[in-house]
Assembly symmetry: C2
Homo-oligomer: 418 residues x 2
């Protein structure tokens, strides 16, 4: 990132985010803003903080890995929003913030007295962003939603899995993170507009609605066929150009597969495949010469591919196909990815030193800005940034330091996390 | 959208995007910018244009549904980038653009003579954004990648599906659209920085790297267990709080399931479930009282849930569970979602009048800005915007109109698509 060359020049340096998000949909959104240089301050309840700290935990009392991976580069203050003093403090911070994010259950933030109608009076420039499960004005608007509920309700589950099996939840939390990414886009667009207008705005996204956006491939197949898009396993829901799919490689473990895709827009892929699998005799054979012909004989083509794949390990298969100009990739598991040093060499994964968990590696922001990805800092301990945030945002100096202990105070010169 | 109140005030109004993207990863990125008000001009080859126009096509010669869903709100000009005149024209447009986006195969844009090193000399303020399959400096950097390759190579495939089955490609094109969303975030962050510095920058994202971002739940489970995250079907890869999963509802069709999730952070969900399924006698029963106890008896709990679900259709099950405060949602298929008028009432799906395809409905940008989503305009026909774009961006007036036919010309007053 160019901040290496120019200290303080992260893309979002100087942008303040008051972050009342929890778990993942909101937290993933504000983590991106933090990675890109915004000062993101999590406001957490003093009784344990963001419940994500306790989600999917091991037997220790340390913050969960789940929390650590979705809250990097942020700061934390502990505030009881249900006390009058806490509420006042949050409003004071909102007056200094550019962006406010929350993803509580339906109606919670309004009952706390921190709804859009309230905070816009506190700060006319505030961009106020909310994530809910179902949209305002939908029959389910009061229903609690978590990731897998949004996936199911938006049809992702219906198109995932095999035609002869049940619908399957995506193995990732797209309902959360995918929604958070869309909200981040709208927040940054609103920030752009605000530079011209001086006005904040109210952003609202429902997880179900956000998941429709990620299901557009399903809707295009629906339009093509005029009926509900069916599950297609390792083929494509929109139609296929054989060979396409996963082929089992030696030594035939759970994830020993190579994924192969050939494009309907490049007939030469099929010729290249025949060279690689040692069947140049079939080049030009009319039984396989067109996409339609190969669709007709897909089972036969899959047997050819499987027979070849069985003689190679997945990385060898990837290399042989890839170097011949055929889109291909080995199925990797999380352990293989974690252990691959290339991701850290390129700044895609980074090592973190956490004060309690110690040293570990995690994925950061994958987009390179001028050749480098942003550096990752560990997620905050609950309430650890209170003094710095109060000093920097509000100019409040703790009484016993008012005489001026070095390096702290309202002038913000400490500001260690920026 | 507040543009209803203030004409021309879309968040990104006035931002110019020179769009050399094709298919989906780049096209999804620039479509978002277009929805939010940027003037996105697709530069397409005159011989058919973006190959996405022909992807997953029906038997007609009309643009594919796939193209229409990923290129709304854009304009199109046809330019032969391989001719000297075409190359000059693209450079002239780049001089007027704020953002440039491309996702050709490795090395293609540089061979065309439109690499970052060239265009930065043309326009120092240009934000130059690229999508590739694999990262620069990775072993696969020259390998062609399509959506499912990126999914496989980033471990999404390894965590999707059932433990006793093979890895499964996600039924959606997250490798494409998911990457495009991350690039859009970096583009808008760069635009924010540029307002202060006056400098453009070079953005680069690889689909494999972007997919690691969406697999953070897999990496947090990996950190928790110290081994590769396994497929968990309709449970969670990170661990589960029963009941959790999909339960088959009458009339037992392919997508007649209700999805139920109970939170480990809210023990009351289990009590509510017992009330709804008519087993209040089990409230407080120590055999099920804790998460650990329910994990122990998960198969038994799933049988209880399945027995109840079998007596209801999925929407009834959703309503009964949801109104009792239990996170729940019916699995919907694309047809049900397409036909549900609530999405159009809320602006999440919108009706389009396309000059060739006619009237159809598609999902748009799901985030509400000040209470409304942005309006959708149909994807452009190949080359249809040439005259307007040349006039508005370059001040070029076609010779036969130079005398000043009303409403067109270099002053940009026509600008129909803005």
């Amino acid at each position: 990132m160019s901040e290496k060359n120019e200290p303080g020049s992260s893309p979002l340096a100087g942008v303040r985010v008051l972050d009342m998000s929890q778990y993942e949909a909101g937290a993933a959104c504000t983590e991106v803003l933090a990675w890109l240089g915004a000062d993101v301050v999590k406001v957490e309840n003093p009784r344990g903080g963001d419940p994500g700290r306790r989600s999917y935990k091991d037997a220790t009392d340390m913050d969960s890995w789940y929390f650590l991976l979705f809250n990097a580069n942020k700061r934390s203050i502990a505030v009881d929003a249900k006390s009058p003093q806490g509420l006042d403090l949050i409003k004071s911070l909102a007056a200094k913030a550019d962006i406010f994010v929350e993803n509580f259950g339906p109606g919670v933030i309004e009952r706390l007295g921190l709804g859009w109608e309230v905070l816009r009076e506190v700060n006319r420039k505030l961009i106020y962003a909310q994530v809910k499960g179902f949209g305002r004005g939908s029959a389910n608007e009061r229903t609690l939603a978590f990731d897998m509920i949004a996936q199911a309700a938006a049809g992702l589950t219906s198109v995932n899995g095999f035609a002869d099996g049940p619908p399957v939840r995506l193995g990732i939390t797209l309902g959360d993170t995918g929604t958070g990414m869309l909200l981040a886009i709208s927040i940054l667009a609103a920030l752009h507009r605000r530079a011209a207008t001086g006005r904040g705005e109210h952003l609202h996204v429902a997880m179900q609605d956000a998941m429709l956006h990620y299901n557009r491939i399903g809707f295009s197949a629906q339009a093509l066929r005029g009926k509900a898009t069916a599950r297609a396993g390792n083929k494509l829901v929109s139609g296929v150009n054989p060979p396409c799919g996963l082929y089992h490689c030696k030594p035939f473990g759970d994830n020993d597969y190579v994924c192969v895709y050939t494009s309907h827009n490049n007939p030469d892929h099929w010729r290249r495949v025949l060279e690689v699998i040692g069947r140049p005799d079939l080049i030009g054979d009319s039984r396989y010469a067109t996409q339609a012909a190969r669709v007709e004989r897909e089972a036969e083509i899959d047997r050819l591919m499987s027979g070849w794949a069985a003689n190679h390990d997945k990385y060898e298969a990837e290399r042989l196909l890839g170097s011949a100009g055929i889109p291909a990739g080995a199925v990797r598991d999380t352990q293989e990815l974690h252990d691959d040093p290339n991701f850290e060499e390129r700044g895609i994964m980074q090592w973190i030193d956490h004060p309690v968990r110690g040293r570990f590696k995690m994925p950061g922001w994958p987009v390179q800005h001028d050749g480098a990805t942003p550096p990752i800092r560990p997620a905050p301990m609950l309430g650890e940034s209170e003094r710095d945030v109060l000093a920097e945002w509000l100019g409040v100096i703790p009484p016993h330091e008012a005489a001026g202990s070095p390096g702290t105070g309202a002038d913000g010169t400490k500001g260690g996390s920026q």
